[in-house]
């Protein structure tokens, strides 16, 4: 009896091992199965809410995890022509299932507006999502802060941005600096220092690592813009003295104008256009592409 049990156990282990072995060989010979394309079969959050039978909040979590995976996977993908078509529908479902899911609105506000290839470049959808959040929870001043951001950073509509900050500042419990932001935006909209102030406030108040990391990236981009201004002044001075822009950074280094090849805050060397003397971050840099400022030179994306 005991021997039979042992025999069964051995056979069981052998069969389990054989199943794994056959699978490994099959994958090696015929390749791994390709993951299915992202498809959203049900797009109505209201239907899902009713179908969840009092478990809408848990279903919202499931869709939230899917949203994170979808956005992260698409952003990291190196595929040409990648698209973010499902980002808004997913966030719409999450917020229909759980209208108080604050981070979903805030995440959407930041990443829906993000320019391609970092996001779909749809500030209109960011605004739609945030307005939905405000209807669900009018006391969340953070939504007005994010709305102001979208107007300020992506649409360069400083008047609307200031209005959002002002409305947010009037919400009971909103921090004092929301009104300061409104005043600064009214007075100095578009000013880089104001942008820095906005991102710094978002960085310091973000209750989510994704939002904090994004604010940190923006602050680094603003630092890069400052450094680029400084470098372009040096290049312009060189051009004025020699009659032509330097051929490369090495020209300036050899002449003692720079200590070494200048690098952006992410550690990637800056790129110099020897024809125009304009400076920018490399497409390989984590900071690429820099936010658009009037007259900025944007190197082509990697092919």
């Amino acid at each position: 009896m005991k021997q039979n049990g042992l025999l069964v156990a051995v056979v069981f282990v052998l069969l389990a091992g054989a199943a794994v072995g056959v699978e490994v060989v099959r994958d090696h010979v015929y390749g791994q199965p390709r993951p299915a394309e992202s498809v959203l079969y049900v797009r109505s959050g209201e239907f899902l809410k009713r179908a969840s039978l009092a478990n809408a909040s848990l279903l919202a979590d499931v869709y939230w995890i899917r949203t994170i995976q979808y956005y992260g996977g698409t952003r990291r993908s190196r595929a040409l022509g990648k698209r973010y078509d499902l980002l808004y529908p997913l966030l719409d479902i999450v917020t229909a299932l759980d209208p108080k899911f604050t981070i979903a609105y805030r995440f959407g506000a930041v990443f829906l507006a993000e320019k391609y290839p970092g996001g779909p470049g749809r500030p209109d959808l960011s605004i739609a999502l945030l307005e939905k959040g405000m209807r669900a929870d009018p006391l969340k001043w953070q939504y007005e802060q994010d709305l102001g951001f979208v107007y300020y950073w992506w649409l360069h509509d400083y008047r609307k941005a200031a209005e959002s900050f002002r409305r947010g500042g009037n919400v009971p419990g909103a921090p004092w600096w929301m009104r300061s932001l409104a005043a600064v935006t009214y007075g100095k909209g578009g000013d880089r220092q104001t942008s820095r102030l906005l991102w710094l406030q978002l960085y310091q108040t973000a209750d989510n690592e994704w939002l904090r990391n994004n604010a940190q990236l923006r602050l680094a981009q603003l630092d890069a813009l400052d450094q680029i201004d400084q470098l372009e002044r040096i290049v312009a001075e060189w051009s004025r003295r020699t009659g032509a822009p330097p051929a490369s950074w090495q020209t300036l280094v050899r002449a003692g104008w720079l200590r070494g090849e200048p690098r952006d805050p992410a550690g990637t060397p800056y790129v110099l256009d020897p024809r125009t003397g304009r400076v920018n971050v490399l497409p390989d840099s984590k900071l690429y592409p820099l936010p658009t400022e009037p007259g900025a030179w944007i190197p082509p994306p990697p092919s």
Binding site: R50, L53, A54, N55, A56, S57, L58, A60, D61, W64, I65, I68, Q69, D98, K100, T102, I103, F107, D207, N208, E209, W210
Partner: protein
């Protein structure tokens, strides 16, 4: 009274013998596994998701226990013919129904209590071991005592579902009883739609019938305060009191109906 207590305890012991409490192991594994995996997937929403998962799992597991044990409570005794020896004892049929019901409610109570402890334990461990940002992202404290309020209302809801399952068990087969009980559970989630039926139909008679059904059928949606608790939204004591009162009154009504049906049943 002693006989009633022993019947009730017997229901509990039987559910233990039937390995019903194994669901607690599954619940614990689910929560611990999820708390470990979620960190990579949720962008800082781990605590919220564990709370949602814990409360929903409590509700779903409890529903399955209530339905699948509830539907067999009376039927099993009839099928095994043990009903004859039971009814030969000095207890009325009403007492028998009440004792069976009490036994299953006790099983549910023990289940929910253990699940609540497991949920708090996992949340406590996440608070201690996780980064401070986990707690900062929450709308409500991680070890919010109001979670017990949500679990309390889940318990009352499940007690109501148990009563419904027991009612069907007094005159129907287990498969039909399960279908009826699940059907009423689903209807109970959408019951509020019936109240405003006149907005979608022109017939006053149909609207009147819908309104009558609204009051007659169990209204289970108000027992769901999970999202409110997880998001730290206010819940008035009056609302909870009224909902619990509704649950108790409805349970008494269904048990009375079950007792009446059972009292009239002929076992020859």
């Amino acid at each position: 009274m002693k006989v009633l207590a022993s019947i009730a305890l017997n229901v509990f012991r039987e559910s233990v013998r039937d390995k019903v409490l194994y669901n607690l192991v599954l619940f614990a594994v689910l929560l611990i596994g999820a708390s470990y995996l979620l960190g990579q997937l949720t962008a800082g929403q781990d605590m919220k998701i564990i709370k949602d998962l814990g409360l929903s799992a409590t509700s779903i597991f409890g529903l399955f226990i209530a339905v699948f044990i509830g539907i067999g409570l009376v039927w099993k005794e009839v099928e095994r013919r043990s009903i004859y020896s039971l009814l030969a004892k000095p207890i009325t049929r009403v007492d028998f129904i009440l004792a069976k019901y009490a036994g299953l409610v006790l099983t549910l109570l023990v289940n929910l209590a253990v699940m609540a402890v497991a949920l708090y334990a996992v949340l406590g461990a996440m608070t201690l071991l996780g980064p401070p940002s986990l707690v900062a992202a929450l709308d409500a404290p991680p070890l919010d005592p109001r979670l017990l309020l949500a679990i309390g209302l889940i318990f009352v809801e499940l007690a109501l579902v148990t009563a419904v399952a027991l009612f069907f068990s007094t005159f129907s087969s287990p498969i039909l009883s399960a279908a009826f009980t699940f059907g009423l559970y689903i209807v109970g989630q959408f019951n509020a739609d019936l109240k405003h039926f006149e907005q979608v139909v022109d017939s006053p008679a149909a609207a009147w019938l819908a309104r009558a059904l609204y009051y007659l059928l169990p209204n289970l949606a108000p027992f769901d305060i999970k999202a409110l608790v997880v998001h730290g939204q206010p819940i008035s004591a009056g609302y909870v009191l009224m909902t619990v009162s509704y649950g108790i009154v409805y349970i008494v009504f269904v048990l009375l109906a079950a007792a009446l049906v059972f009292a009239r049943r002929d076992f020859k």
